[in-house]
Assembly symmetry: C2
Homo-oligomer: 279 residues x 2
């Protein structure tokens, strides 16, 4: 049992003081979900190995009663196994499986592309001692200068917003990805959005995005855990001429699930698709 | 309680006898998962309203003890609520939420694009009395001739295959989307794959696709429910010059989840991204 209900949490933060890594953000929410207080060890990208006494080069990492636990998924599995009587993060193994698929989709559709849009800002916002590491390692990964990768983001941001329909479809039907209360599915996806909020010097979603309600509720959880003053506004992206719709305005009208309640419910569509058909 | 353990199932089939709709396929698996025998009412697209005595224009629909139940999600919710002591289809409300997101992604990434690749075959394979309805309604929806929509599919099929990484990532870590046993998450996604198998006159996935193991196991369930002789081979797509990789061959080497087990596990990557950095 964590002494004084407190778990040591190694933060990975920018010069603004805001947590940066999607995985570290998700872990912060996971620890709060389990009801723990955090003993935060501050820091950035360089010196993780030294800060953790040689235990890891990467974060998240936590220490519970002297035991190091590594990796965002590893920590969540540990917390649910060690503290089964506290609110569960992954209520069924099927949630783990579907969430991993969703997480992979969201990374490719949103987090990765947003990183490309803000990689220069990301470097500029990092702690001074991290500038060289962030610049060098990201340029190695990407094979180009950060300035070149970031350029042209105004063309890409509307397409990233438009690609988030799967999330909108689910959250139009359920209050949380956890169902009637949040769980690690919410925190995992929200981790990528909080990463973005930590670097987005220009907004990434429309003011009236249907995701806004869920995002604001996630930010409010645990005494406003996500409302760090170092974060940038997510909402305020404007659709320009030639941009795709930032979200599907027609989706709310029909509804994808449980739409067929009998012939009345499908008549208009039938009329439209059979119009002009013989007999 | 369903009389004689049997539920009436309205089929939606092609001239091959194979079920066509993704939603009807998913419902067929759901009923078997719950342990029911099916009293199959055969038929195609036209005449659904007449076959169901005016109850619905669309399928799936079932009749349990004289009660009509409509809509694929409606049927699943009905089955779990009415028969809670039988194997559960959706074991937690969080599975419903994450599956709806996944379902929306899979429709946009795969089922929709596959429909475009096979819409002419689909019409040609439909029951003779359905040809006019399928042609007219689909051309109304798509705004073009089916022949034009289908043309050029050899360019599109490799990209659809490549887009399935989220599913591969989850199934590399879990035996089923249901976890250690299948549930409606598997049947829902597999429904779209079975739709494709019912019309794909040319294969859509590589012979060595990592999804193959899960797909074959899904086909084997319930006495080989998915091994209908009218289905076409899904596997056998060849990568041509200029095509993207049909799946990510590097994914199996790293592993996305629980990769950080300490400095040893990240050293090679660190070396690669810091190579040439000062100090």
């Amino acid at each position: 049992m964590a002494a004084n209900n407190t778990i040591t949490f190694y933060d990975l933060a920018l010069s603004t003081g805001a947590t940066i890594s999607p995985f570290v953000w998700a872990t912060k929410y996971a620890l709060k979900h389990k009801g723990f207080d955090l003993d935060v060890v501050p820091g950035g990208f360089t010196g993780i190995l030294e800060r953790t006494g040689g235990k890891t080069e990467r974060l998240p990492a936590i220490v519970d009663d002297g035991e190091f636990v590594l990796d965002s998924w590893g920590i969540v599995e540990y917390l649910d196994a060690k503290y089964p009587d506290r609110p569960v993060l992954i209520p069924h193994e099927s949630v783990a499986a579907t969430l991993k698929a969703l997480d992979n989709w969201f990374w490719n559709a949103a987090v990765g592309p947003w990183m490309f849009c803000f990689c220069q800002d990301y470097r500029d916002l990092s702690l001074p001692q991290d500038h060289e590491y962030v610049t060098h390692s990201r340029e190695k990964m990407l094979g180009r200068k950060l300035e070149e990768v970031q350029a042209g983001r105004e063309e890409r941001l509307p397409k990233i917003s438009a690609a988030l329909e799967p999330l909108r479809a689910a959250l139009a039907q359920h209050q949380w990805l956890g169902g009637s209360s949040p769980n690690y599915a919410d925190y995992r996806i929200m981790g990528g959005i909080l990463f973005t909020a930590s670097v987005c010097k220009t907004p990434v979603l429309a003011n009236d995005d249907p995701l806004r309600d869920w995002i604001e509720r996630c930010l409010d959880l645990y005494g406003g855990l996500g409302r760090h003053p170092g974060l940038f506004p997510l909402f305020g992206l404007e659709q320009r001429e030639g941009d795709p719709d930032l979200f599907n305005r027609a989706a709310g009208q029909g509804g994808i699930y449980k739409r067929n309640t009998g012939p009345e419910s499908t008549r208009a569509e039938t009329q439209r698709i059979t119009e002009g058909m013989k007999k």
